[in-house]
């Protein structure tokens, strides 16, 4: 059985024939309220820009040309490959990837710990992890900034205790952005991993232990493959939103360089007012993410078949 979407053990078809009924709400809601607007944006990316925002309904490839081809500051040099936007994309992908790894390294043990509590405490722990998110992301990010700034409490405490002599100087660095992204998206890793780990059957571990597997071997060879769907879901939920994040890069990183999110925002809300280019950048971003997701879905299919 090939479950096309992230499949694993669930190639079941006991509700076969109900797919349309079950999926109708999804198709309707996302199809109407997001797919149609996004398709409009896809069309915009091929239209002529109207000065200071908006579009003129004339077909052109200018937006994509601007993204991939460099024609110099004045637009009349011979065309060569434009590295500016590719560089911005690369930087964002790299940052988002690091943040995802960080979230996984911290989030997996946390999810594991929570999932191995008794039923009542599990709920409490889950809420403990999500409660901070009742406070707005902007407030959390600004407080984080306050905490790590050179004259803030963190540096004061470290200097007072004699661990460091001078402020760490984290603010306005990539490290601060990492910390911000980690802080923004941690529960997006913890919760799906938890949902998968909670289901884990410990007799598998026991069987492995009977075969004299060490604790860490069990983790690597037995547990991780079983809870993989949760880890993948968590990685998607952290990585994709991190790609377009702009609060952490702006507030903690000092906004010195565009990230994908701020680049696109600038096209719609900034002085450039270049909607087709903003739309084209978004389409390219979505194409990249889509290819990765579908490649993953396909690899799942192959795995299930073999």
């Amino acid at each position: 059985m090939a479950a096309m979407a992230p499949g694993g053990a669930s190639g079941s078809d006991i509700y076969k024939g109900n797919a349309v009924k079950l999926l109708l709400p999804t198709w309707l809601v996302i199809g109407v309220f997001l797919l149609i607007p996004v398709m409009l944006m896809a069309v915009y990316s091929f239209l002529t820009k109207e000065f200071r925002g908006g579009v003129i309904w004339e077909f052109t490839l200018t937006a994509y040309d601007q993204f991939f081809l460099n024609r110099g500051l004045f637009g009349d040099d011979p065309a060569s490959i434009e590295w500016t936007y590719i560089g911005i994309f690369w930087r964002s992908i790299w940052q988002a990837g690091l943040a995802t790894i960080l979230c996984l390294l911290i989030g997996f043990p946390t999810a594991w710990f929570i999932a191995t509590r008794d039923a009542r405490m599990r709920t409490v722990w889950l809420l403990i992890v999500t409660v901070p998110y009742w406070v707005n992301l902007l407030i959390r990010t600004v407080s984080m900034k306050f905490l790590i700034r050179d004259e803030g409490p963190l540096n004061a405490a470290l200097m007072w205790s004699g661990i460091i002599d001078a402020p760490l100087g984290i603010i306005n660095t990539n490290l601060a952005v990492q910390l911000g992204l980690f802080y923004s998206y941690l529960p997006f890793m913890v919760l799906p991993v938890y949902a998968a780990v909670e289901r884990y059957d410990f007799s598998l571990s026991e069987a492995a232990a009977d075969l004299y597997a060490s604790r860490w071997t069990i983790l690597r060879l037995v547990i991780l493959p079983v809870v993989k769907p949760g880890i993948i879901a968590g990685c998607i939920l952290v990585f994709v939103p991190s790609l377009g994040a702009f609060l952490a890069p702006d507030l903690l990183g000092g906004a010195k360089s565009f990230m994908i999110g701020s680049l696109i925002e600038e096209q719609f809300k900034g002085a450039a007012g270049n909607w087709p280019f903003g739309a084209a950048s978004a389409m390219i971003l979505m194409a990249i993410v889509m290819i990765v997701l579908l490649a993953y879905a396909r690899s799942q299919t192959r795995e299930t078949r073999t």
């Binding site: 000092g254 719609f268 002085a271």
Partner: protein, 339 residues
């Protein structure tokens, strides 16, 4: 005042059928709630206010479909011109605005709204930079503080995250005109900002005050009222009026096209031209009103603030809205700076 009451009575009878309301679209943190309450008390018109964070995002949301949802917006000078050119502003006749005469002469005839047909002054102020005097006590009356900083300040500078103001100040530093099409000048501008970037710690507009009060930055581009507030919060900073000049701007109450409550809008614009009300706003925002007779209502520390009182002979420059073919090059410089 009587004139005003008369107009609001006219407004009242004109739309007595519906509940009186006003939909205001304003910058965030730019309007004291007390003033809105006073307006409601005086006229019976309920005010709802939404906020935006830049001239450009105002334009974007109006373009995407919000035109017709609001009566009044508060665009800056060049944005008034852009909105008018885009056909997004309505006009009023002088007799609809009895308090038009309260506007200071220099703000009555302005290039961005000739003869004040669509907008009235809200607040005006200047943009330059402020320096932490505990970190640097040398001469700060020069734009080199930002673009070629002394050792004490290098790496501790915040600049505004808007291309218009940053590139204009940079042009003033170089002594070149705005919206130039001269390639050598544009190249020099590009080289100046990319060369100065390593000396800048951060780009930020909303945080411009916060970074100075917290000590994250030792110098920073900032708006005059913001600098005054930072100083009021105890930051040891001085706002500079560099010899190259300062950027001057004016935000305006502009009557939007398709305003659902045009009469309420006119009543509100008139209300804000009353010296007492303009002064309340100025005491809050700490810029300047552009209306005559406000001085007696001002808090003394606002009236005498060094930020709002440039020394005699300070050069002033408005940010210009460049034509499309030239704006493209400034956009390219900006992208190049932040890539």
């Amino acid at each position: 005042m009587n004139k005003f009451l008369a107009t609001s009575l006219v407004a009242l009878t004109a739309s007595a059928a519906q509940a009186q309301e006003l939909k205001l679209y304003n910058w965030f943190e730019y309007m004291p709630q007390e003033l809105l309450d006073a307006f409601t008390e005086e006229t019976g018109i309920a005010v709802t206010m939404d906020t935006y964070d830049s001239n450009e995002s105002l334009l974007a949301s109006l373009k995407a479909g919000k035109l017709g949802a609001y009566d009044i917006a508060v665009p800056g000078d060049y944005m008034v011109k852009i909105l008018a050119d885009e056909g997004m502003l309505d006009t009023f006749a002088p007799e609809e605005m009895p308090n038009l005469g309260n506007i200071e002469t220099q703000w009555l005839t302005v290039p961005f709204d000739e003869g004040r047909k669509s907008s009235v002054p809200y607040q005006w102020g200047s943009t330059s930079f402020a320096v932490n005097r505990e970190v640097f006590d040398g001469d700060i009356q020069d734009t080199a503080i930002i673009f070629d900083p002394p050792e004490e300040l290098a790496g501790k500078i915040n600049v505004l995250d808007t291309s218009g103001e940053l590139l204009t100040l940079a042009s003033m530093h170089l002594g070149i005109p705005q919206c130039t099409s001269d390639r050598e000048q544009l190249k020099a501008l590009n080289a100046l900002v990319t060369g100065a970037k390593p000396d800048w710690a951060s780009f930020g507009s909303d945080v411009a005050k916060d970074v100075l009060t917290s000590g994250d930055a030792a110098a920073g581009m900032i708006w005059s009222g913001f600098a005054a507030k930072a100083r009021g919060e105890g930051a040891p900073i001085e706002y500079a009026f560099p010899r190259q000049g300062v950027i001057v701007w004016m935000d305006n109450l502009a009557l939007l096209k398709d305003a659902p409550n045009r009469d309420s809008a006119l009543a509100f614009m008139n209300f804000m031209l009353e010296p007492e009300n303009a002064a309340t706003l100025t005491n809050y925002a700490q810029y300047s009103a552009g209306v005559t007779g406000v001085t007696e209502f001002l808090d003394p520390e606002v009236a005498d603030s060094p930020e709002a009182n440039p020394p005699e002979g300070t050069k002033t420059v408005f940010v210009e809205a460049c034509p499309e073919d030239i704006q493209v090059m400034y956009d390219a410089i900006w992208t190049n700076l932040k890539k």
